[in-house]
């Protein structure tokens, strides 16, 4: 009985820390202004929408990987999947969750767009260095 209570409490706190961790990852990229090029390619102007996520992820696969982004990206991907799954089930019971989840998923899409922007910059720098040498 005690172990079951500890399990439930641990799972709840784990969820809370996971959501906050993902939000802290996304918050650090929220102030980053997307370049003109990325805005054209992704179609994201000032604010992203939740529907942009899959498309931006596909674009991200085309760019060279940045190892320092990998874990953050995987955490946000997991968060996005969790939100999508929760939205289809919880939003029927709690309608306010649907709008909150939509905003969160849009933030996930913007985070991925910022990662794409950084990868494009890195690729450009690498090409410039190769051209110089």
């Amino acid at each position: 009985m005690m172990a079951a209570i500890i399990l439930v409490v641990s799972l709840v706190t784990m969820m809370m820390f996971f959501v906050s961790y993902c939000r802290s990852l996304m918050a650090s990229s929220a102030s980053h202004a997307l370049s003109e090029e990325v805005r054209d390619v992704t179609g994201i102007q000032s604010r992203a929408s939740s529907r942009d996520f899959t498309r931006v992820m596909q674009l991200l696969q085309l760019c060279p990987d940045r190892p320092s982004d990998r874990m953050g990206l995987q955490a946000v991907q997991l968060y996005y999947s969790f939100l999508s799954a929760a939205q289809s089930s919880i939003s029927r019971i709690a309608p306010s969750f649907a709008s909150w989840s939509e905003t969160e998923r849009a933030s996930c899409a913007y985070f991925v767009a910022v990662v794409l922007d950084k990868r494009i910059s890195l690729s450009r720098e690498m090409l410039a260095q190769q051209a110089e040498s």
Binding site: A3, I6, S10, S20, R23, M26, A27, A30, S68
Partner: protein, 231 residues
Amino acid sequence: MHLGSAELLIWCLGTALELAFVVCSIARRSFFTYFFLNLYMLLSVLADVARWMMLAKFGFKSDAYMYTYYYTDALLTVVLYVLLISLYSRVFGELRFAKHMRLAAVVLLLGTAGFSCAVVVQQGNRLSHFFAYELSQNLYFVGIILTYLLWGAVLKLRETRTRLVQMVLSLGLYFSVYAASYALVNVAPEVTVVKYASPLLGCLLPLAWCVTILRYSEDSRLAPAQLVAVP
């Protein structure tokens, strides 16, 4: 007992990530800024090496391995507790009661040690590895509560330092996941995946801290309002 290839791989991965965090800290000139985090990782590596040597020389069921395992575990838990208090000091650093907080932390540590000692004596065991086991277990529980309180303080004090916020959150996630996996062992001991889950989850903390150290500088800031999740 021979370790399976999956267990060996997870063990090596964990040790490599612990070392990677120290290397990243030195590379980013943050070794002394986060001294206790680095100390914990270095001691974890030393504990891994000591356990490995004992396992290879005396075997899994030997007393030597058992004592090494439990005493290194107790030592690591005490250092993890000190690390947590160092994070408290950073969050409350500018407040007047920082000194009182350190004193309270020492009293809490001694109190937990005293309680563990009393439990072991009451059970009629000699003060050997049982004390180390009891102390680790109790300090882990105290750690979960303290991390939760620290997160509350981070939100209340509107902490903006990205590195500090992410380190506290990683620690909270690590403690919660570990507690959940221990509880799952008791609830459903037949679930074999738990056997691999604990050491695998142990890799999460150094990995998350490596990312934090590499990704953000000491000057990185974030808006605290963006951390509160209210559906």
